[in-house]
């Protein structure tokens, strides 16, 4: 957003030489090293960086607050002439919620599930003595309407679990606006949402912030999102400022290498693999219907073919059944109808009845490398187990193979072989998961959202590694993901899923070029682009097409 009055307005918040320390074991380590932040009235500042950059910590510090286990150790925080570091708890309490508000990443965790939305809205203004309850309720409905929540008069009387994730996030934004604060801190408000839902929330936040001329600190790891929202961007890394500047200028003309890397992150694309010539596909999912407990059908008549040596991406939003498809293929969830064929041969429905060789041929890599590795086993044991379990290698031969595998995933065997998973970074852990899958010498690897828990630069390295391994070993991938950038980068074929059904499938080029199925269209168009005008243009385009009477989906399932 480029607010005309933003850049020249009076200074609202000024943090100088901000230093924050975090506690680990028994010592304090500095995690933010003297960062300056200036925010003017009505201005939207984007804080961007990877995990560990200190962006959330800085955002919260603007309220004079540090999370438990952290402390503000140096610098000044001045909000409208008031020194927040010297302020008493009572003064801060008056400030928070009424003058400075906070919107958390997970609205579902931030709302109290036992109270209605509107009661949680009115709590802050009533507490601060700004408004009476009746008055506040009326205002809440008005805000709900402005945030384009459906049925604004009544939605507030629902409980948090009765509305969707995107609606909850908007209700939380309304709550933050309740006292008409001067500053709102948005901490990754759309990160947990699906792309099609993200659009609605972004548009709503943008409008409201603009309308009330509220200053905002918008924290995110996604440069394309921040491009839509911010007037000014600060790029952070390891608690230091990398680059700061006007949003448009920085996107058009980044000065630092690191910013350039972040901007280029979605440009990686593989060359399409040659089509599989063999008559029998490596994996065939034939008319599979599956349900949990026989009640809720999560997959309905799904058929997918995966050719040898190719990468098939299954893409869909939460609830589309894509992860359930992986569970059916691995045999964790036996389907109620249909069958799984591997190399033309039907696999037993449950993994318990599959032979060791059948299990070996299809390996899995998980979304969360933290929970996919046993924290009490050394890397040697983690990778070594499949080596000895499936291939029967022992002693020196086993050790040699472990070292080979570590070298294949570009990790130094001498350095890492005796470590525990807790001593590795997220990207390194995911590499170990890949090595563990490769150790079985499989033909198919199912990758379930393997990059979504990783920072973008790290994720890209993982994708490149997977691609290199495919080129070298000829392994086939079934890639399950919600992220279209990943699909673009790595897939040969795409399967689009919605609510347990396959909407569209075909070669990557076919899927990504119009005409699309309406849902594919919605999904593709909802992926944020780096262009700061993208959101406005997209919404205008959708409205125009609707006005012309074309069939346009607004969100999944409508």
């Amino acid at each position: 957003m480029t607010s005309k009055n933003g850049a020249s307005g009076e200074v609202l918040l000024e943090m100088r030489g901000l230093r924050i320390e975090g506690q680990s074991e028994d010592q304090w380590n500095e995690i933010v090293h003297g960062v300056d932040v200036t925010l003017r009235r009505g201005e939207v500042l984007g804080l961007i960086g990877e995990s560990g950059a200190g962006k959330s910590t800085i955002g919260i510090a603007s309220m004079g607050f540090a999370r438990p286990g952290c402390r503000i150790s140096g610098g000044s925080i001045v909000f409208e002439g008031m020194d927040l570091r010297a302020a008493s708890d009572e003064q801060l309490r008056k400030l928070r919620g009424s003058r400075i508000a906070y919107v958390a990443q997970s609205a579902a965790a931030a709302f109290n599930p036992a109270h209605k939305l509107i009661d949680q809205y009115t709590e802050t203004p009533v507490q601060h003595g700004v408004k009476h309850k009746g008055e506040a309720e009326k205002e809440a409905m008005e805000l709900y309407r402005r945030l384009r929540l459906p049925d604004p008069e009544n939605i507030g009387f629902r409980y948090p679990h009765q509305v969707s994730g995107g609606q909850l996030q908007r209700a939380m934004t309304a709550m933050a606006m309740a006292c008409r604060p001067d500053l709102i801190v948005f901490d990754e408000p759309t990160t947990a949402l699906d792309v099609t839902t993200q659009i609605e929330v972004l548009a709503a936040i943008k409008d409201v912030v603009h309308e009330f001329n509220t200053a905002a600190i918008y924290i995110t790891h996604d440069l394309a999102v921040v491009a839509q929202m911010a007037d000014r961007i600060m790029v952070l890394r390891y608690g230091d400022l990398v680059e700061e500047g006007n949003a448009r200028d920085m996107l058009a003309n980044p000065k630092e290498d690191y910013t350039r890397q972040l901007l280029a992150v979605r440009s990686y694309k593989k060359e399409e693999a040659p089509p599989d010539e063999s008559p029998v596909p490596l994996l065939e999912v034939r008319n599979v219907t599956a349900s949990y407990g026989g009640k809720v059908t999560v997959l309905e008549d799904v058929s997918v073919k995966v050719g040898r040596g190719r990468t098939v991406a299954v893409v869909g939003e939460s609830g589309s059944g894509k992860s359930t498809l992986a569970r059916v293929i691995t045999g964790l969830l036996p389907p109620s109808e249909g069958s799984i064929l591997f190399d033309g041969e039907e696999l037993p429905a449950s993994y318990k009845r599959r032979s060791r060789d059948q299990l070996r041929h299809a390996q899995m890599i998980y979304q969360m490398p933290d929970t996919a590795l046993n924290p009490r086993q050394k890397i040697r044991d983690i990778i070594g187990r499949p080596v000895s379990f499936y291939l029967g290698l022992k002693g020196a031969a086993r050790e040699k193979r472990i070292r080979e595998l570590l070298a294949m995933i570009e990790m130094d065997p001498d350095e890492f072989i005796d470590r525990l998973p807790g001593e590795l970074s997220g990207g390194q852990k995911q590499r170990i998961c890949i090595a563990r899958a490769l150790a079985a010498e499989p033909e198919l690897i199912i990758c379930d959202e393997v990059t979504s828990a990783l920072d973008q630069l790290v994720a890209e390295e993982i994708l490149k590694l997977l691609q290199r391994l495919q080129d070298e070993l000829g392994v086939t991938y079934l890639f399950i993901t919600h992220d279209l950038a990943t699909v673009r980068a790595i897939s040969d074929e795409v399967v689009v899923m919605l609510q347990g059904k396959v909407v569209e499938q075909g070669g990557k080029a076919d899927i990504f070029t119009p005409p699309h199925d309406p849902y594919t269209d919605l999904l593709l168009s909802s992926v944020p682009e780096m262009d700061p005008d993208w959101l406005d243009a997209l919404l205008a385009d959708r409205a125009a097409r609707k006005a012309r009477g074309e069939k346009v989906m607004d969100s999944a399932g409508q």
């Binding site: 286990g69 691995t330 993994y351 299990l359 969360m368 929970t371 046993n374 379990f389 563990r436 079985a440």
Partner: protein, 278 residues
């Protein structure tokens, strides 16, 4: 070694106190016969000689046996039996608890309901009943208490491992084709150790108290074997004359219980990452 020393140095005073108490008790239990001037049930004088008289530091009991000697032998018997019982309870409860979560389904249901039934009966009455029927001997005593206490261990082992069995690395092991025993011992058990170790300490205290209680009631360790519970009972009449001798074995029980609890508290604090709020 240096690491252990560093860890011990960082222990709070309560934990140090607890550790000193435990080490002292173990020392006495192991070297008991060398420390005592008389035999375990040797009659050395007349009944109820007061403390400090005729060279008996703690006096003599109702049969004229040296109290100090009995107290030292009592440590040996009570602690030894309690330790063996606790180990057995953990073997039964721990294995079944982990098995219940790993197998899930009907195995979990069956074991869970069985434990419910056992836990529904008051433990002391149940133990008294069985010991009356079977007669009291040390192996029966150990077995009965171990089975009854294993229900608590089962519940803990099940609830701790429940959070681990759903993690991806366990699923990965299942999909690899690993057997149940491998999954239990290699994947789940190492990750549920801290709460189980802490529970071992607490469970030991309960077993210890329980044995003493049974002995006090006459159904635990049988005379002439020295045991703190029965020592309290044998000399209970003295309390009416204002003599605190029967309280000495009771104090010995209390001191060990407190000591073990201090150490367990510290251990839980260390491993669970709970921090003191300022």
């Amino acid at each position: 070694m240096a690491q252990i020393w560093k860890l011990l140095k960082s222990a709070p005073p309560t934990a140090v106190f607890g550790m000193v108490v435990i080490v002292l008790y173990i020392f006495i239990a192991v070297f008991g016969p060398m420390l005592t001037p008389y035999g375990e049930s040797e009659i050395v004088g007349s009944q109820f000689i007061p403390r400090g008289e005729q060279g008996f530091i703690l006096g003599t009991d109702n049969l004229g046996r040296d109290m100090l000697t009995r107290l030292i032998y009592g440590a040996r018997n009570t602690i030894g039996i309690a330790f063996v019982t606790t180990c057995l309870a953990f073997l039964i409860g721990g294995v079944l608890g982990l098995l219940a979560t790993t197998l899930g389904g009907w195995a979990d249901q069956l074991l869970g309901r069985l434990v419910d039934v056992l836990m529904a009966i008051p433990i002391l009455i149940f133990a008294l009943l069985i010991l009356t029927i079977t007669g009291t001997s040390v192996p029966v005593l150990i077995l009965v208490i171990a089975v009854l206490d294993s229900t608590r261990v089962f519940r803990l082992a099940r609830s701790v491992s429940m959070n681990i069995v759903v993690l991806d690395f366990v699923e990965a092991a299942r999909l690899r084709g690993e057997g149940t025993w491998w999954i239990i011992t290699r994947e789940i058990l190492p990750n549920s150790m801290p709460p189980l170790v802490a529970e071992f300490g607490l469970r030991f205290c309960f077993v210890f108290l329980f044995i003493s209680a049974l002995s006090f009631l006459g159904l635990g360790i049988q005379p002439p074997t020295a045991d703190w519970g029965s020592m309290v009972r044998d000399n209970a009449t003295l309390i009416t004359y204002g003599d605190i001798t029967p309280l000495l074995p009771a104090a010995a029980i209390a001191l060990l219980t407190v000591g073990v609890n201090f150490v367990v508290d510290w251990f839980l604090h260390k491993t669970s990452g709970i921090r003191d709020d300022k």
